[in-house]
């Protein structure tokens, strides 16, 4: 089934640029977290952002839908410059889904109501229509039978899949994932990644911050490696993960793929043991 129909008000041509980030800077007080990011994501593209913690990955993602206000630079979303103060950011956000590390489901509402609330209040859909869309998306993530449950009755993995269904119910043109599996027990990660893979296969444009290298390698069209607020390297996963050009990328991947550092290193320059 083909997902991600862009709402009529925002026509997105195939291959068109969905996100265009130009020279983006973000500071928290005196600390500069993003030091000039240039990144474009095309329609239907899946871009995975990897990098050490504190490298600015999440901040970059949160800038895209303006949960963080950029300090300088521009972001064009579906042709609209969202950094322009005259733009109604609430309207732009309806086209951008976001999935958080901590799920952030509304605990006082049922799974179904989580998926219908914004449809009714923001898109003005009728209750019937909203529920139909919600059920279709809950089916997509394999949780249609839990529609009447409340979030606290679900496992972390199920909650995250509901969060994905909630975002999809707004018919977004772009989905942002902020470390969607980092808060999950290891055995629950697979279900969430499987849903994300289905979504990617269905043609959804996705920007994913993740530590799941296997997922990035398999699903991403492009992998972006960030360190210290800058993009160090980007390209197809075979290159960035398989045969990185930059030493910083190599060092990061060594640590991620062999966290204990017990395996003897081939490259003596990379002999770096965490205290």
């Amino acid at each position: 089934m083909s997902t991600a129909p862009a709402t009529p008000s925002v026509p997105v041509a195939s291959g068109a640029t969905v996100v265009q980030i130009t020279d983006l800077h973000k500071s928290f007080g005196p600390r500069e977290v993003l030091k000039g990011i240039d990144l474009a994501v095309a329609q239907g593209e899946v871009v995975c952002i990897i990098g050490p913690s504190g490298s600015g990955k999440s901040t970059l993602l949160r800038c895209v839908n303006l949960l963080e206000q950029p300090t300088a630079g521009t972001i064009r979303l579906l042709g609209t410059e969202v950094t322009d103060p005259d733009v109604d950011i609430d309207r732009v956000r309806t086209h951008v889904g976001m999935v958080f590390q901590q799920f952030n489901l509304f605990p006082h509402r049922t799974v179904l109501a989580n998926c219908t609330l914004a449809q009714q209040k923001v898109l003005g859909r009728s209750k019937d229509e909203a529920e139909k869309v919600a059920m279709r998306n809950l089916e997509l993530v394999g949780l249609a039978d839990r529609a009447r449950s409340v979030p606290s009755q679900l496992s972390g993995g199920q909650q995250q899949r509901v969060a994905i269904a909630r975002s999809l119910s707004m018919d977004p043109a772009l989905m942002l994932f902020d470390e969607p599996t980092s808060a999950l027990d290891p055995e629950l990660v697979g279900d969430v990644l499987a849903v994300m893979k289905d979504l990617a296969d269905a043609g959804m444009t996705m920007l994913v911050v993740t530590h799941e290298m296997a997922f990035a390698r398999e699903v991403a069209d492009r992998v972006v490696f960030m360190d210290d607020g800058m993009i160090v390297e980007q390209g197809p996963p075979e290159q960035v993960i398989g045969a990185p050009l930059q030493e910083r990328t190599r060092e990061f991947l060594r640590r991620v793929l062999d966290p204990t550092h017990l395996r003897p290193q081939g490259d003596p320059a990379g002999e770096h043991v965490e205290p």
């Binding site: 006082h108 509402r109 609330l117 209040k121 923001v122 707004m170």
Partner: protein, 278 residues
Amino acid sequence: MSADLLDARAHGGRARMSPRRRARVVRGVQYAVLVLIVVAVAVATDWARVGNAFFNPAAARAIVGDLPRAALNTIVYTLAAFGVGLGLGLVLALMKLSSVRAYRIIATGYVEFFRGIPALLVVFAFGYGVPAAFQIRFDSIVLQIALALGIVSAAYIAETLRAGIQAVPKGQVEAARSLGMTSGQTLLHVVVPQAFRIVLPPLTNEVVLLTKDTSLVFALGLFQNQYELTKVGRNALTGVEGGMTSLLAVGLVYLLITIPMSGLTRWLEKTTGSKGHV
């Protein structure tokens, strides 16, 4: 050898009693002291006199007719004051959370001022000060009381509501906003319903305090049909029978009002809790 050492430590030294044995003896002594005091009080008390003072049937009969009306007045004054306090308190709480600094300063000043002065002072102000200063007369005693007590309780309620709103995790707001909801919609549909559950217990506490604070209006000149419980109890003190009976009776009626409120909170918490409602 180590076993010998352990043995010597466990039983040796000057302490002849083990800690557990000693704790038991101490507990026994505490019970003995309590029993002695109870017996001494029971023997020393003039029970006939106590019975006459606290449970005087004549005094009880004299007051019982006034109690329903007084209890009703107490409840009406409480609810009216709570209405004012909740409305004003919500405005103040939102002001305290406002991004406009001037609003935050005004709200903080208000809260500090009315939390810091005795409520009785405000009751006097609305009873005598405001009417004299501005040449106005309050036609309704309920309105007068609601304003006086509501203005004070708004300061406490504002702090309670602010804490409740801030206790809702930031991720909830971010999730709602990223779905395209406006800040107003987010507040109304996501933050307030969750904050409501958090503030329910402290808010009930506020109503209980307010119920008791209605006693302060005895300082105003009230007509007889406007008397609340404390005024009735106080007037009975100077009656022919006097004694503690009237105060005890009035106290019991206060308890009949305040204790069910805790039950109501528990019930509300349960019904707004696990069930998700649309």
